[in-house]
Symmetry: C2
């Protein structure tokens, strides 16, 4: 066990971040000489509640994982202890991904039953990726979506207010803290308070002071003066430690006295819309940054009630996507080789039926607005623009990775092409995703074939 600053996952043992059953199946696929080419499709069966769309994110990390996955000594030793056999471990030590991956570029709106990603490879290879791919793409897509909803409310009702991720402390662990900052940026945020995410992803970082700064002085005024002595015009003062409006008055005095044009104040409690109006009377030329329980619903309400703010700092609600904290990404076998041909496959499990076959996702638009999607078979002749892009072929990455700015811009453009009725934050009208006639027919034929095998 090698402990790192925040845990135990290092380059050495990261390949073990998978469910045991993947490795159990892998051993059986190889030892039993049953390793046909297979296609897996990663998708969600339903959009999370209140969501009219999701924003795809996490592909860069998914690609990196696939490109670099390999098993070193430490992982093999552990697996030997756990009873895996030598010949399998010897194969595993030579593992590398040799197949094809098609995916939705990050920033693309996506709907239920549309593949975010499809992997075609010998089944042992494709199978192994399941746990990590769902983990990485599911969470980032969840958060990019949450962020996009907040940016969308501002685009519709606000004045371009800043959105800064304040969530690191409440994220589910450190990886979530990092990925939330990245995904929020994709969804339209301007920055993060998380310094490590700033360093790692080149996202602008932002931060002011905490109540502890104010409390550590006998008088609030002293705390403001000392901060302005250090940061001058860059100062953003937190004014709600004792009384928000009084805090604003003291901030105004201090700025005056120090001859500093302080950059802003932060409000972090109480009736934020009402207080922001009061503070605006005291400090009409100073930006107000609004935090505490911020999400798309609160931002909407803030505008509705004529709150005055230059920026918002969503935290917990952003990084845990509190109103919809799970996205049940699945990675399902949809086709497998038999007698030299790819054959569609599906399961019939109650409530969990899947559409068989390698897919195509086509999107049509008219007058710059999306009009609907059709999900069909990969080789089918369908209208609209293909959304799935080949990102890995013969095990090699075949695209350049876009930078975060470009992904954010793609997300913005494509979100705005979604008719507004699908972007409502509480009761969005479902976007039209049609299953193609051929895919419907294929599904029905396969279902009948599979059901016919059961004794009456």
């Amino acid at each position: 066990m090698s402990q790192t600053t925040f845990g135990y996952l290092t380059e050495e043992n990261a390949p073990l971040f998978t469910d045991l059953y993947e490795l159990r199946m892998l051993q059986a696929y190889l030892n039993q000489d049953h390793n046909p080419t297979a296609t897996f499709s990663l998708f969600v069966r339903d959009l999370p509640p209140n969501r009219g769309y999701m924003i795809a994110a996490g592909l860069e990390q998914a690609i990196h994982y696939i490109e670099t996955l390999s098993f070193g000594e430490r992982t093999l030793e552990y697996l030997a202890e756990e009873g895996f056999d030598e010949s399998f471990l010897s194969s595993l030590s030579e593992f590398e991904f040799t197949g094809e991956v098609r995916a939705l570029p990050e920033g693309t709106p996506v709907f239920a039953n549309e593949p975010l990603l499809e992997v075609t490879a010998p089944i042992a290879e494709a199978q192994l990726l399941e746990t990590a791919l769902i983990n990485q793409i599911g969470y980032q897509s969840l958060i990019a979506t949450k962020a996009s909803r907040m940016r969308d409310v501002i685009d519709r009702n606000g004045e371009g207010q800043q959105l800064i991720d304040f969530g690191s402390r409440r994220a589910h662990g450190t990886d979530a803290g990092m990925k939330a900052a990245r995904a929020a940026y994709i969804g339209g945020f301007d920055g993060t308070s998380n310094v490590a995410a700033g360093e790692a992803f080149g996202i602008p970082i932002s931060g002011t002071m905490a109540h502890s700064w104010v409390q550590s002085f006998e008088y609030e005024r002293d705390s403001f003066e000392t901060f302005v002595d250090e940061y001058g015009d860059e100062s953003v003062l937190l004014i709600d430690t004792y009384d928000t409006v009084r805090g604003a008055e003291i901030a105004a005095d201090v700025a005056d006295e120090k001859g500093a044009a302080i950059r802003g104040v932060r409000l972090d409690s109480g009736d934020l819309a009402a207080l922001s109006q009061d503070v605006d009377e005291v400090l009409p030329d100073v930006d107000q940054f609004i935090s505490s329980g911020i999400d798309e619903y609160k931002i909407d309400d803030f505008f509705e009630r004529d709150g005055v703010g230059a920026g918002f700092g969503p935290g917990t609600a952003l990084v845990t996507s509190t109103d919809a904290p799970k996205v049940e990404g699945v990675y399902k076998l949809v086709a497998t080789e038999r007698d030299g041909e790819m054959r569609p496959t599906m399961k019939l499990s109650a409530g969990k039926v899947t559409y068989p076959g390698e897919k195509s996702v086509r999107r049509t638009e008219s007058d710059g607005q999306y009009t609907g999607d059709v999900v069909g078979l990969r080789d089918e002749d369908l209208p609209g623009e293909e959304q799935l892009v080949t990102v890995i072929d013969d095990g090699e990455r075949v695209i350049d990775l876009p930078d975060l700015e470009a992904i954010q811009e793609r997300g913005r453009e494509q979100r705005l092409k979604l008719p507004e009725k699908h972007r409502d934050i509480e009761d969005p009208e479902p976007y039209d995703v049609r299953i193609s006639d051929e895919l419907q027919a294929e599904t029905e034929a396969l279902r009948q074939e599979l059901e016919s095998r059961r004794p009456a």
Copy 2:
């Protein structure tokens, strides 16, 4: 930017996993020569919905973070680019924690307003820890609590059924996947499907097969035969790919034919309680493992409806604590040195008032059952057993870290000492946590003093 398997957080940049404002305050504390001794208290203001208690977890990682936190070249370079000044960065390069930490041992039941941890140190040191401590302790406590609720339902209504964490794929990132496995074990789980967590923490790992295994064969029967060829008596067969009861019949045939006493079957869809009874008719001597949407409510319902199962595999609901995905841990300044003495401090922010002063948490019991807690001042004379333990003193760890088995056992024992009425999963009766008279008086006096400073 150095990319790792799942992201970007390495030993080199992990110290930057903090909010920018912590570092901004740090620079100002040091440059402005304002670095009094301070005490911060980490607690939750409210238990999450439906929770009558929480289980403290994550302390081992918190201690490790505090013990090892230091800033290397890469972090200092980035901070210089971001405008921090040279003299501050020079101090930061020598950062080490020199203070005291008191905390609730992992596995301890904890309630609103009770410190999970208190840090006393020069304010610059204590301040810096905030983001990471809340992140690590908040999430693990959330999940240990969720797990403990499932184990408690089994203890009350079941027959010692196994609980295995199946959540890695749906956790919010990889750190959450790892920590959920650890925290679930603390809460009373028996194992995890996450191989990396098995390797890192020594938790038993568990896994069977996915639907893709079954679908990759033309006939379900072939898939079962091949798996039994590989794993013999160890085989656990997933029987719901096409039709659960039919799957059970095929499993029975295959076991018979191969002369293997298969270990179990897994049910993953449909009306699990009803199906498990049907499967029990077909395979009376085979263990059934139940997965798909499992949480404490589903387990309770499963028992209510006489389901037959030897184990459960909760996934998403466990690792995202779906019914209560956030725990708003806060880290508040409660005392600060002034004129050579520690003085209590508090904020008055609307809805976010804190209790001032270093704390004591005392727990009383009678006939082996807890009867209530009192939260008071550290130096107060109070009844009951002190729950906060000094874990770091003068910057050095002063306790031995218990192993996971011991923590799990502590969690079990102490949970069972909580009267059952506080453990109800839907409407628990609040446990009695009294604020001591002295702490009440201190709070009131300080509030009046602070309010008297506002002009009428």
